[in-house]
């Protein structure tokens, strides 16, 4: 099968997956306890008042009817109107998505740097106390959940040594001359380093909290791969040719050992985006995850649907990108 056909086939799979997610989320959130109309009933509301509010928000129709109306809208780019914000769901979701993507990518970069460094240090110093320290650090980083790392970071860098911002995405005092919601990227492109520093200062703790567990996973897998690669014949040959141990690890072993780690990073990235829900809440970071929690608390069904669909879209796109990247890097898969 050609690469083009593979791409088309996977796009079809994506569409089916998204439809499945849409069906599940639509029906499940209407079946679980928690009626959005009951949430907004004032004291003394009569049966007629309840009926009037239900009709106003379209909950007076059967669930299949509601689904048909909603799906028809979605196919035309209308995801409905948020019950709490009274704004189009798509606008709300798209305005928050960049914050979550920037945070996730930053966390991923930190995780790669930290994990890569620990893997290389552990491999270079294998059999020594340094390797043991790396292994113990990995163990601790993995066993503590990201939100707990968040609390530790708040205590350390927010309270005891207050050098980073504790909450939000950017300082309210700053005026942002931006046209997109990708503040970090736009501040870089516009050479507004003052805003960029402020954004990074807000982003650092949540990104680090998200990155620490992933860094440990990367370190563990990459170190293992490196160790296995170091026993291969071509690496031994490189040693006999007089390469130093650092050169052997970085130039010869690393390019091969990194391949399985790349796949893992892709898969873990989707988990990392899922982790933003709690971390964004903890740091009051104005992303999609924080909005998701409010939507669930307020039973804002249209907004919950929009956010879940967006998360599902991100997950499927990232998974497909990982597949494609892996296929491009590995000719056996490309032709298989």
């Amino acid at each position: 099968m050609s690469l083009l056909l593979q791409i088309l086939s996977r796009l079809m799979t994506m569409a089916v997956t998204l439809f499945g997610v849409a069906v599940i989320v639509f029906f499940v959130i209407r079946v679980v306890p928690g009626n959005p109309i009951a949430m907004m009933l004032p004291p003394g509301a009569s049966v007629e008042d309840i009926a009037r509010l239900e009709a106003l928000y379209g909950f007076d129709k059967s669930i299949p009817e509601q689904f048909y109306i909603w799906l028809s809208g979605v196919l035309q780019g209308d995801f409905g109107t948020s019950i709490t914000a009274r704004q189009p769901v798509l606008d709300l979701v798209l305005s928050r998505l960049p914050a979550t993507l920037e945070l996730s990518v930053m966390a991923l970069l930190i995780a790669i740097i930290m994990g890569g460094f620990m893997a290389l240090a552990g491999t270079r110093m294998r059999g020594t106390k340094t390797e043991a320290i790396v292994d113990v650090t990995n163990g601790v980083a993995l066993s503590v959940p990201d939100f707990l790392w968040g609390l530790v970071l708040v205590l350390l860098f927010g309270v005891l040594w207050p050098v980073f911002h504790i909450s939000g995405r950017v300082s309210p005092a700053l005026d942002l001359p931006f046209v997109t919601h990708f503040y970090l990227i736009e501040s870089l492109l516009r050479l507004r380093f003052d805003i960029m520093a402020d954004l990074l200062s807000h982003m650092f703790m949540p990104a680090l909290a998200l990155a620490i567990p992933l860094a440990a996973v990367i370190a563990q897998l990459l170190k293992q791969s490196l160790k296995e690669t170091l026993h291969l014949d071509y690496v031994t040959l490189a040693r006999t040719q007089g390469y130093s141990e650092n050169q052997v690890i970085l130039r010869e072993a690393l390019p091969n050992a990194v391949l399985p780690t790349l796949t893992l990073i892709g898969v873990q990235f989707t988990f990392l985006i899922g982790g933003t829900v709690i971390i964004e809440r903890l740091f009051s970071y104005e992303g999609l995850g924080n909005m998701a929690i409010d939507a669930v608390i307020n039973r804002d069904l249209p907004l919950i649907q929009g956010i879940v669909i967006m998360f599902a879209l991100i997950f499927t796109v990232v998974n497909r990108l990982v597949d494609l990247t892996y296929a491009l890097l590995n000719p056996r898969l490309r032709n298989g």
Binding site: G34, M40, P43, L155, S167, P172, A173, R281, F283, S284
Partner: protein
């Protein structure tokens, strides 16, 4: 291999200092711009529609920008606001209101009586989406003469003017809203309130600028930033680090830990109570069980031990600052009496009466722990209650469908202090908020809804509360106390409604 050079170290250090230093730019020592870490998000700027319109916690934000029809003092008493004079005619068939002169909207336009009448009509429109429409629709056919408004009473509602200081009771700008539409108003809201919206980032913050022309006097802090920090640990960290000057609603232990140090604390009772609904099903149809369940609860001990003393035990659904509070109605702690009552129905510690109690966990301070303690107290007298934890959304749904468990913990707010919006809606069988369907109580409450004589009306509600207490139809627990932490440079004035209002804050 990368070699660590001196130049590299210096560059990295400089970058780190610049990066980290940016955090300290807002930590002003003298308070020029007041920063408040608020406990809820503001989903919408329209205070009259949607779920946020009936969320009591958000009202403090709305009241910073918009004015209520009738203002409310910090002790819940009504006072002249945009409407300076109000009332009915002698036979209660007409209402009259006088609109304050000289008030301007944030865009400089003058407030008119037409704005007020339009806001009332808009709130009463069944298609408008105002959740309190059923109250606003009780008056209409307004006529304007200068700054005087008269209207017809379409259905007598004794609390109509009290609602003018409560949920959705805001005056909105007619001409501006018609010009910019709902989306335009959401993007650039204006009111007549003490602060103007300067910048708003959804889910993040709102920056407010003082309205120096405010009819109630210009606020002392000219610039206020309200950050939405929904996580309690985050809010505490904000004030502890100096990133914010004021915050509210943190665990009482944290409040006690911090108030004596670099921060100051204010803790005052608010119009929010903890209570346990009794649904008249299963064991709760037995008066002995209900009365024993009430008598076995030591409210003072619960407040002292679980709420660190921050609460006021109550015996009816009225708190001491409500209009129908009657100190003579009491339900004393009496575990021996509870045992005796249960014995009359054949129950004992060895043969306990069994039912389920529902509660939230973490929705209100120590909610689950309080129910655990109550279940422990009940066990000692012969009541075995099984705890079921649910989300607050499920509570609303079950209550509206009258399918709550025999006992269910809830908190009830009533920031106008009227008995209709506490005992009335919570205990009147036909109300979707009540799960007690006893006809005797419905019969007592029914005539009070339309009682035109206020003294008679309040006396009637007191009699209802006495009947409820004597028959143990509900278990009132305590009035909540709102903890507020603030920097020493700010003087915070708490409001009994629970609204944290920046225009009441001054420099210490």
């Amino acid at each position: 291999m990368t070699v660590l050079t001196r130049r590299g170290v210096l560059l990295s250090t400089a970058a780190a200092i610049t990066f980290a230093g940016s955090a300290s730019t807002t930590w002003a020592q003298d308070i020029k711009e007041l920063v408040i870490a608020y406990n809820v998000n503001l989903p919408s700027w329209n205070p009259t529609v949607g779920a946020s319109a009936v969320n009591p916690t958000i009202q403090g934000l709305y009241q910073s920008v918009f004015d209520l029809f009738i203002a409310q003092d910090t002790d819940l008493t009504q006072t002249a606001g945009l409407i300076t004079d109000w009332g009915w005619n002698a036979d209660k068939t007409k209402v009259h209101m006088t609109v304050r002169d000289g008030v301007t909207w944030h865009n400089g336009d003058p407030l008119t009586a037409e704005d007020v009448a339009w806001s009332l009509e808009r709130a009463a429109d069944p298609e408008g989406g105002n959740p309190i429409q059923f109250i606003w629709s009780t008056i209409g056919n307004f006529a304007i003469d200068g700054n005087k408004i008269t209207g017809d009473v379409l259905r007598f509602e004794p609390t109509i003017f009290k609602w003018m200081s409560f949920l959705t009771g805001y005056v909105l700008p007619k001409a501006y809203m018609e010009k910019v539409g709902a989306d335009g108003f959401e993007a650039a809201p204006i009111g007549t309130g003490p602060y103007m919206v300067e910048k708003y980032e959804r889910n993040a913050f709102v920056r407010l600028k003082a309205n120096d022309n405010y009819w109630g006097g210009a606020p002392e802090f000219k610039s206020v930033t309200i950050k939405f920090v929904t996580d309690a640990a985050g809010r505490v960290a904000e004030v502890e680090s100096g990133n914010a000057h004021v915050t509210l609603e943190m665990p009482y232990e944290e409040y006690d830990r911090l108030k004596g140090g670099a921060l100051m604390g204010t803790a005052a009772p608010v119009s929010d109570i903890g209570m346990i609904f009794f649904n008249d099903i299963d064991a709760m149809t037995d008066p002995n069980v209900r009365k024993a369940a009430v008598m076995a609860v030591n409210k003072t001990a619960i407040v002292d031990r679980l709420l660190s003393g921050y609460g006021v035990p109550i015996d009816t659904l009225q708190t001491p600052d409500y209009a129908a509070y009657d100190a003579s109605v009491t339900t004393p702690y009496d575990p021996d009496g509870a045992k005796a009552l249960l014995a009359k129905s054949g129950y004992s510690v060895d043969n306990p009466v069994k039912f389920t109690i529902q509660t939230t966990r973490g929705f209100k301070p120590k909610d689950y722990e309080i129910i655990q303690a109550i279940v422990g107290l009940w066990r000692k007298v012969g009541i075995e209650a099984e705890i079921e934890v649910y989300e607050i959304a499920k509570h609303y749904e079950l209550r509206a469908a009258d399918t709550l468990a025999p006992a269910a913990f809830y908190n009830w707010g009533n920031s106008i202090g009227d008995p209709t919006t506490s005992t009335g809606f919570a205990m009147f069988g036909p109300s979707p908020h009540s799960v007690w369907d006893g006809e005797d109580l419905t019969g007592m409450i029914g005539p009070l809804w339309g009682e035109a004589d206020d003294a008679k009306r309040i006396a009637g509600w007191k009699a209802v509360d006495r009947h409820i207490a004597e028959n143990a139809l509900v278990l009132p627990l305590f009035q909540y106390v709102q903890p507020i932490l603030h920097a020493p440079g700010v003087k915070v004035v708490p409001h009994a409604s629970g609204a944290l209002l920046p225009h009441l804050m001054t420099r210490a």
